[in-house]
């Protein structure tokens, strides 16, 4: 019997010179307690987690999320709250100064209703932060022109949204993401909007390098079980992509032979 090729099912990918086995990035927002964070990281198998930078309530300092992230996990601080490239650059520098490493998820948002990213400002911030030695992962609206420019200025990946942040609406931008996967040689990491494990699996089946999930896990009735479900879905989706999906057809094509029927003709 032929064995399943485990090499095929366990293929790392590389970002910023780092090899990653897990294709599930997880966010740390919206969890009911900090104590859940390390458990979520374990259940999801994630190797990269995001976090945000905010003003400290200095009269009543609370614990820092970093204390709950196990060693060996790559930190991907975001620039959430930035409305311009300049603000994003400032946040990125602060995050680096805090000893968080040099990865940064650029997030520049002016629209408060849909929290859609501002691509031109994102590009400006990306170009500058690459020059400063950051490993730049920009959250972006899935636009091919912008993705090409991000690639040419040295971004390490592009992170198109599937649907608005926190909406759990899935791959609404599927067709545009498909084009990015086809045309851009950088890893495509679908960020925002993924609400169900099946949607994460679909992104990986399409050839996305990874997905970033936060709300879907954090707002599930059982976050730990959901983190595990996403882990399985991402592995399934990647395996399916590598195995090569069969062709789609509009009409039926019988799976059983169309000869030797037990009937009179």
């Amino acid at each position: 019997m032929q064995q399943v090729n485990c090499e095929l099912l366990n293929d790392p990918f590389e970002i910023g010179g780092q090899k990653l086995r897990s294709r599930l990035f997880t966010g740390t927002g919206k969890f009911s307690s900090h104590e859940l964070v390390p458990q979520i990281i374990e259940a999801s198998g994630t190797q990269v987690v995001t976090m945000a930078l905010r003003r400290l309530d200095w009269r009543n300092p609370q614990e820092n999320i970093l204390n709950y992230i196990p060693k060996g996990i790559t930190l991907l601080p975001n620039t959430s709250g930035a409305r311009t490239a300049e603000e994003a650059i400032r946040i990125a520098r602060l995050a680096k100064a805090a000893g968080c490493g040099n990865w940064i998820k650029i997030e520049v948002i002016q629209d408060q209703r849909y929290l859609l990213p501002d691509n031109p400002e994102t590009l400006i911030a990306a170009e500058q932060l690459v020059k400063e030695g950051f490993v730049v992962l920009p959250y972006m609206s899935p636009d091919l022109g912008t993705a090409r420019r991000l690639e040419s200025v040295g971004a390490a990946a592009v992170m198109p949204l599937g649907a608005p942040i926190g909406s759990n609406r899935g791959l609404q931008t599927r067709e545009l993401i498909r084009i990015l996967i086809e045309e851009i040689s950088l890893p495509i990491i679908v960020d925002a909007g993924i609400g169900r494990p099946s949607e994460a699996a679909e992104a990986l089946e399409m050839g996305a390098a990874a997905v970033l999930v936060n709300t879907a896990i954090a707002t599930a009735d059982q976050p730990l079980e959901m983190a595990h479900a996403f882990r399985l879905a991402v592995e399934a989706g990647r395996s399916a992509y590598l195995a090569g999906l069969g062709a789609r057809r509009d009409q039926a094509e019988a799976s059983s032979p169309l000869t030797g029927f037990l009937r009179e003709e």
């Binding site: 905010r54 003003r55 400290l56 602060l94």
Partner: protein, 66 residues
């Protein structure tokens, strides 16, 4: 004297170093980032910064986020 901390006015009784002020507030050292008048100050330099009238401090920390 008055300084601005995270966008709010705060009153300090005496001249004090940033290091000392952080200690007095019981702010956990390892987890905050401080910007003093727009410049990031690494922890080893906190002792050399004397807070004075009109200074602006931003004290930041990491929180959960996506």
């Amino acid at each position: 004297m008055n300084i601005m901390i995270n966008g709010e006015k705060a009153e300090l009784r005496d001249t004090i170093s940033l290091q000392r002020w952080v200690e007095e507030q019981n702010i956990p050292h390892t987890t905050v980032i401080i910007e003093y008048n727009g410049e990031i100050i690494p922890e080893e330099r906190w002792g050399y910064v004397e807070l004075k009238q009109g200074d602006q401090l931003e004290i930041l920390k990491f929180v959960g986020g996506g």
